[in-house]
Symmetry: C2
Subunit: 357 residues, 2 copies
């Protein structure tokens, strides 16, 4: 009955706090979770207040047009309401795109967001990856010319590595690609990258002129609403109309919708989190230098530290209630660590110091 699913693997999520509580009996309030690139400063206060006020409306389906949220995003990005589709995380926009096209071949970086591959395999697509683990767009273009994939994923900046190609390079690449190939520009961490370096900024408005480019963004990272599953796709109307054909009704919750609308009114809070993120990231870079560790210069809210025996070290951290992401499953010994609050970073680095020295 399920023959076509034989080769599918499922996504391995970061270990939730609940699991550590269950497995190691550590108190929830003592656990430090720096594994899933959540905003350590929590959800925007305005979103919290709103959700408390309307918790008694959970029996009501949301306004399925998502009118107010699309409107707020349109104003933010200086685009039209009809250029926006709302998803349960930007993941779901990726899913719509892949299922809508059902590509035979898709192209992505050697190491990049796992869902590109998972969704593509669901429709039986062949996965093409660059040899470079990061985004080498020349290499992307060489493979594109030979293989003509129907979808190309660019993760700008890239998760789970943290590096970022310049937006100029992205647009030069787009210009060279035939209009029958959809280019997905995943901007899940764009708020961080564009703050750190204007050369990395991709304005969703600028992709609208291309008939074959889809930008995706999320409320899960800088906007502190990872648990509420809200993302968006931005593209020309033809693409958006077609993606809507795959959108199930009520694909985000009543509380998610309200929280996202409020979050967009709380830009000061969001900005604060981004500023602190890069201040705190310095601690990790200094730690790496002091201890002779390599790291990837990051344009996101996480950093990859190369550490020998990363599997063992991740396990030992977990036993102490510190959750990070081990990169061994990607084929190299490193940890991906979300930049936390000052006290969380200090505790992690102190604990790690004891393990590697």
């Amino acid at each position: 009955m399920f023959e076509k699913l034989k080769d599918l693997k499922t996504y391995e999520a970061g270990k939730p706090i609940e699991l550590v509580v269950r497995e190691f009996g550590i108190k929830p309030e003592e656990i430090i979770k720096l594994a899933s690139n959540e905003n350590p400063y929590g959800p925007p206060p305005k979103a919290i207040e709103k959700v408390k006020n309307i918790a008694n409306q959970m029996h009501r389906y949301p306004d399925d047009s998502f009118f107010e949220l699309k409107d707020a995003l349109s104003v933010k990005f200086d685009i039209k309401n009809s250029n926006v589709i709302i998803g349960a995380g930007s993941d779901q926009i990726l899913e719509f795109a892949v299922h809508a096209i059902a590509p035979k071949k898709v192209l992505m970086a050697g190491i990049t967001f796992a869902m590109y591959e998972i969704y593509s395999k669901q429709v039986g697509a062949e996965i093409l990856k660059t040899k470079s683990i990061t985004h080498n767009l020349n290499e992307f273009y060489e493979i594109y010319k030979q293989q003509k994939p129907e979808i190309i994923f660019l993760c700008v900046p890239n998760n789970p590595l943290g590096e970022c190609v310049d937006s100029k390079e992205v647009f030069e690449f787009i210009e060279k690609i035939d209009q029958n190939t959809l280019i997905v520009v995943d901007g899940a961490y764009q708020e961080f990258a564009s703050y750190k370096d204007k050369n990395k900024e991709i304005k969703p408005k600028d992709i609208l002129k291309y008939p074959n480019v889809l930008y995706t963004g999320t409320f899960s990272k800088a906007y502190g609403l990872g648990g509420m599953r809200i993302g968006y796709g931005i593209a020309n109307e033809f693409i958006i109309q077609n993606l809507h054909k795959l959108r199930p009704p009520f694909n985000i919750t009543t509380l998610s919708l309200a929280a996202a609308i409020e979050a967009l009114k709380d830009e000061e809070f969001v900005k604060m989190g981004i500023v602190k993120n890069f201040e705190e990231m310095e601690k990790y870079k200094n730690f790496a230098k002091e201890n002779g560790l390599d790291y990837i210069d990051s344009y996101t809210n996480f950093i990859v530290l190369y550490i020998k025996n990363s599997t063992k070290i991740a396990e030992n951290l977990l036993k102490k209630g510190i959750i990070v992401r081990n990169m061994a499953s990607y084929g190299f010994e490193a940890l991906r660590i979300t930049i936390g609050k000052p006290e969380e970073n200090d505790k992690l680095l102190n604990t790690l110091k004891g393990m590697i020295s």
Copy 2:
């Protein structure tokens, strides 16, 4: 780029309160929404309290194993954790099933839940419907024998009509179907049907012995959490494992997960809503009899009243701030009305009385 989507239509959701506010300038608190079969008594109080308490955790992804919720459902239904998959509404379980099998043909009742057809068309399936608009299982079997569809949808009780086949009939039907065909038993309104008449009750446990039956249930109706998008599928482990291959990570929100767990601790509240539902439904039946209207005997939280010019009447109700579902799009003149609170039902029936007499 999107050739395969050409013939797809999108689901038409019930009009949300926000739309009526926008279109007719009626105050939100004066609007009566009886269009989407939401629980008029709201979410379970325990769920409201919990959500308020953890609103500051919206930045955290949920425990993607959904361990605690599956555990609670396993206890409730006397099954194993591994027999359960959690979805963003039971809709998403239907989506997983259709996408996992990618059937060439699917079979369903003449008028039934719209998403069966929409998901099936997404994978290019041919839609087979019985001539009977309700569930005539003899007719289902005749079509099955000739056409051998890979999926059969049974909606027990049926939305949007409200009628319900006996569970005995359902199991006799299942016994006759080859194991290569998946039978989906949609129990979204089972809590109502099994309360009204034990002959309609389908215990999820009883379908586990069949290798080809999937039961779906929801927190959207009797459990008062429609806006939170939580449903579940129950089947033998082989089916559940395969459906998990299509489940995106974090497919329900952190607050939805907590709300559902609490709702299962609030069975008294849920029961109260079901009891009142059928008490209040009497008003509609009496109204129909007094006014010479036909209606469909309902095993759900809504009732279908046959009314001439239903399109015009639904529009006039809307202008007065009362939202119901017009059945004209299904090809007959009738209104589907969610059973509301006493005062809502009284106001609707008084208003309707003025329109038909």
